[in-house]
């Protein structure tokens, strides 16, 4: 193990828990304000940030609840900080209203969701990818979100940095969708030197005059952020507003733009945002997965190939915006997709909608929910399906 900390980056090769790798990713990305409320299985992230952030000039605020955590990071983001909160499903449920606020006001922030078995209080220490759809559709109204799915401690670091970069670049909230298994897994994590990390900082509004002389919002090409305390006299409201940020509840054109421009801002840049891992060339069958299950999918595909079956894999690294084009392209070249999820099939309908016209699409959940897919079990089910 070698280690050297340059600036905020703990460069070197480490043996780290996923949650600690995530916290180090946040620090490396320049996070200087985090807020949160203790919750299993995400607590190690805030514990680590509480210890390390002040050493780098940052603040960790333990709030009275998760509603306060999301609200205070939105406030700190408007004060110019790079901000984060970390929680699990119950915390996300409490935060949903103000996640919508962040969407509507184009506020950059990062939310780490270390998912646990639910519904409700469920099982705190068991990982289950039960929040995949709630983070995309859980706040009221119509909107688009960015969410990334790490498959292990290394990506807990890498994708946390990427989540900050995407949030700053596009002025949006970004989710990191870990599961309890990934958060608590310990593996080798290689942290690059600070000079090798590419970091993005938001463009700050420098325009003279007041908000009526500027475009602070609703630009599909991303408006510069009118951060507070710069004499910009910015106005920020989550009520329907025009490009100056001024509330308007009477003009249908403005209502239309209030909803569609933030969606367009993400969808126009989908090629930059969407990342998938694919390895299905010359394959008849593809195992489609994300998060912890993608590790089982890879192992099952290897077993299947050893048995002479042409089985490939497809992994979502970005799950929102949904990689529909990538799924369609795959559907045209394979005969059979088998979707593996650590839940009862949350992304399955979305995948089927893009693929079922061109190939067969099946689903395999864990043999027992809360248990990681056993590759041997996946292989036996796969063989039954193709028999």
């Amino acid at each position: 193990m070698s280690s050297k900390t340059t600036g905020n980056v703990m460069a070197g090769t480490h043996f780290l828990m996923g949650n600690i790798a995530c916290a180090e990713g946040a620090i490396a990305a320049g996070c200087n304000f985090a807020a949160g409320y203790p919750i299993t299985p995400a607590t190690e992230i805030i514990n680590h940030l509480a210890k390390k952030l002040p050493l780098h000039g940052g603040i960790f605020l333990q709030t009275e609840d998760e509603i306060s955590a999301i609200s205070s990071i939105v406030g700190a983001s408007w004060s110019g900080c790079k901000v984060l909160t970390a929680t699990s499903g119950p915390g996300i449920s409490l935060m949903q209203e103000n996640i919508g606020f962040a969407v509507a006001t184009e506020t950059p922030l990062v939310i780490i969701d270390v998912q646990r078995l639910g519904p409700s209080t469920g099982v705190p220490s068991i990982g289950l990818a039960g929040d995949i759809v709630q983070v995309a559709r859980g706040s009221h109204g119509d909107y688009q979100i960015i969410a990334l799915c790490p498959d292990g401690p290394q990506e807990m670091f890498d994708l946390t940095v990427r989540a900050f970069n995407l949030s700053e670049k596009y002025r949006v909230p970004v989710f990191l969708m870990a599961e309890g298994f990934i958060g608590h897994m310990r593996e080798r994590v290689v942290i690059p030197d600070a000079s090798e990390l590419s970091l993005v900082a938001r463009t700050i509004q420098r325009g003279a005059g007041g908000p009526m002389q500027r475009q602070d919002f609703l630009d599909a090409a991303v408006a510069p952020m009118p951060v507070f305390g710069n004499g910009l006299k910015s106005h920020v409201t989550s009520s329907c507003h025009d490009e100056h940020g001024m509330r308007n509840l009477s003009d249908p054109e403005i209502m239309h733009k209030f909803i569609t421009k933030p969606i367009e801002k993400i969808m126009r840049h989908r090629d930059d945002i969407i990342q998938v891992e694919k390895n299905y060339k010359d394959c008849d069958i593809v195992l489609v997965a994300y998060g912890s299950v993608s590790r089982s999918a890879k192992a099952a595909a290897e077993l299947a190939r050893a048995d002479g079956l042409k089985v490939g894999i497809f992994r979502f690294i970005t799950c929102w915006p949904f990689p529909g084009e990538e799924i369609r392209e795959m559907a045209e070249s394979v005969k059979h997709m088998i979707v593996l999820e650590n839940n009862c099939g949350q992304l399955f309908p979305y995948i089927k909608a893009e693929a079922a016209h061109a190939c067969r699409v099946d689903f395999i959940g864990p043999q027992t929910l809360g248990q990681i897919h056993d590759p041997e079990y996946v292989l036996s089910r796969l063989k039954e399906m193709v028999r």
Partner: protein, 278 residues
């Protein structure tokens, strides 16, 4: 028309905002003036401020009117948002203006914890004793026994004494006035804007259109006359027994002391641990 425009209007408000959401007789206008007068008398600049509000009639006091950074948030949460704004940029004078329903009902938890933390923001809580924007529903500040839209046969619950609550939670500056006391409000606001800690000002304010009509307590003038007749200064109230204080509004500055303020404490803590690291 500019020759008849109020000088504070020209100096401190957004020129393009030409309408108010307030009803005729509303107390919000008095509070707008008191805030702007305090800033004017202190010789402060609007660029030193960030105003944060929630949902309800009083949230429209700073937003979108004031020509400063203004953050109009969700119901109950302005203090939580403001806490982040203040910790992110401690040099800003962060002011929350919102109502009793917003800050003491749905947002009550954030209120007491902000007071406990002593985060250096000013909270102006406008208490009109009712949910006005939605049409006269019972608030935790609605007097027991009056008829409201959601208690048409009379409310059965006791009221929150919000200033006492915030005082008990540890706030170093707590004052209560009514809209009959604009000069006293201005004076307390000047102390709040220049103090370092969590400063809380409750303003009992008339809502003739909802509270007055729904509870049959009269016009704006009737309510202001009640404030005039039934307000008792805190010094005098301390000498009176609970029986003779029934139906009275205790006003004045309840506490004004120095306590370590959270954002300043964070600045010191960061300097200390960063020095220890190097």
């Amino acid at each position: 028309m500019s020759e008849i425009m109020h000088p504070l209007r020209m100096k401190y408000t957004r020129e393009h905002v030409k309408k108010t959401t307030n009803c005729p007789g509303c107390g919000n206008g008095i509070i707008v003036q008191a805030i702007l007068r305090a800033i004017d008398e202190l010789g402060m600049d609007m660029d030193e401020f960030a105003f944060v509000s929630g949902i309800g009639c009083s949230a429209w006091i700073p937003s979108p009117l004031f020509n400063a950074d203004t953050l109009h948030t969700t119901h109950g949460r302005p203090i939580a948002f403001a806490t982040g704004v203040k910790l992110g940029k401690p040099e800003l004078n962060v002011v929350v203006a919102s109502g009793d329903g917003d800050l003491a009902a749905i947002g009550g938890n954030h209120l007491i914890h902000a007071a406990r933390r002593n985060i250096g923001i000013t909270v102006i809580l406008v208490n009109n004793g009712i949910y006005a924007m939605t049409g006269g529903q019972t608030a935790p500040t609605t007097p027991r026994g009056v008829n409201t839209t959601t208690n048409p046969y009379g409310t059965l619950e006791s009221v929150f004494d919000i200033s006492s609550l915030v005082l008990a939670a540890g706030a170093p500056f707590v004052a209560r006035w009514t809209t009959y006391h604009p000069r006293q409000i201005t004076s307390s606001l000047k102390k709040a804007f220049t103090s370092r800690g969590f400063s809380f000002i409750e303003i009992i304010s008339q809502c003739p259109v909802q509270y007055g009509k729904v509870t049959k307590s009269g016009s704006a003038l009737d309510l202001l006359k009640h404030y005039k007749k039934d307000s008792i200064k805190i010094d005098k109230a301390r000498t009176m027994d609970p029986e003779s204080l029934k139906g009275k509004i205790v006003v004045g500055e309840f506490v004004n002391e120095q306590k370590p303020e959270l954002s300043a404490e964070w600045t010191e803590l960061k300097a200390r641990v960063m020095e220890g690291r190097s």
